[in-house]
Symmetry: C2
Subunit: 149 residues, 2 copies
DNA sequence: ATCAGTATTGATACATGGTGTCAATACTAT
DNA sequence: ATAGTATTGACACCATGTATCAATACTGAT
């Protein structure tokens, strides 16, 4: 019911972009490679900092746009923490939620969603047409608990 | 299991501020009155726009600080939508979640939280110390569904 | 292999949402 | 009434993200 994420390869990701009608460009390859190096949630600004200078610098706008594109083809998931700061997590097609360590960012993905029953009840009772929900869990992972004490 | 919110009065809110050691000031009264006029979620910037000019204008920083204070004493709840934009909802002490209409902002509060079981399972399986979770539901309310068709 | 068409890029400027500073003000307990 | 201190608001600043637009580069068709 929960698992570490299995990652797509660069080639699979680029295929997926093509299938959705996106062009394969040098900056996108660089960004995909950078994304694959992260196995923790990262922010757009972190990527900008990594890729935004040097000889083959990639523009801020391109980084933001590409992250959006990758999220739209289910290569990345964008999650928003309770303080409103978004970050991206590699690989998360389908309906998933995450358990994040607030200290080190370790992420556990789980597919068990307890919302289905609740959504039915809410829909019946309120007559809302229910479209979406957020559900993310935050805590401290075992190794951070240890290094605290 | 779900309900429209019952509102505190201005006096009750000001008592609550005092009980927490906050002073009663003119700007805070103005902000509390403004908050009570809203029965839909609102953003900090909306309040700034309402109160930020005219003869008794209230500074942007004061508005932001006061909203934080009101949230800290459970007069307001701050929720963050999937796109990362925070808004405030009047009156929500305790553990509550919300069902929001994406079109008109109508909000239904519910206390049924399906997370308890899941959290126990997650804690057992991952050994995380679980601290917090987000859970908000978004949809279209009955009256907006009607005016669509 | 070349070409034309168009998606993409990146520089820049701008927009939005929020925070830090600090002197001046105003609340509260005494 | 006064002293002490929380609070205010002006301002500058920061962080995150977006719009514009000319220049570039990918792609499919030839």
């Amino acid at each position: 019911m929960h698992s570490q994420e299995t990652h797509l390869t660069e080639i699979e990701i680029e295929d997926r972009l093509k299938q959705h009608g996106y062009r394969l460009t040098a900056p996108r390859s660089v960004i995909v490679e950078a994304v694959l190096r992260h196995n923790r949630p990262f922010t757009a600004e972190q990527l900008v900092a990594e890729l935004g200078d040097g000889p083959d610098a990639i523009g801020r706008a391109t980084v933001y746009r590409t992250l959006e594109v990758l999220a739209s083809v289910d290569v990345l998931t964008r999650i928003v923490s309770p303080d409103g700061h978004p970050s991206y997590i590699s690989g998360a097609p389908g309906h998933r939620h995450h358990l994040l360590c607030e200290e080190c960012g370790t992420t556990v993905t789980f597919t068990a969603c307890p919302m289905n029953d609740l959504i039915d009840t809410l829909a019946t009772d309120t007559h809302f047409l229910i479209k979406d929900h957020t559900l993310e869990v935050f805590g401290i992972c075992p190794s951070c608990q240890e290094s605290r004490s």
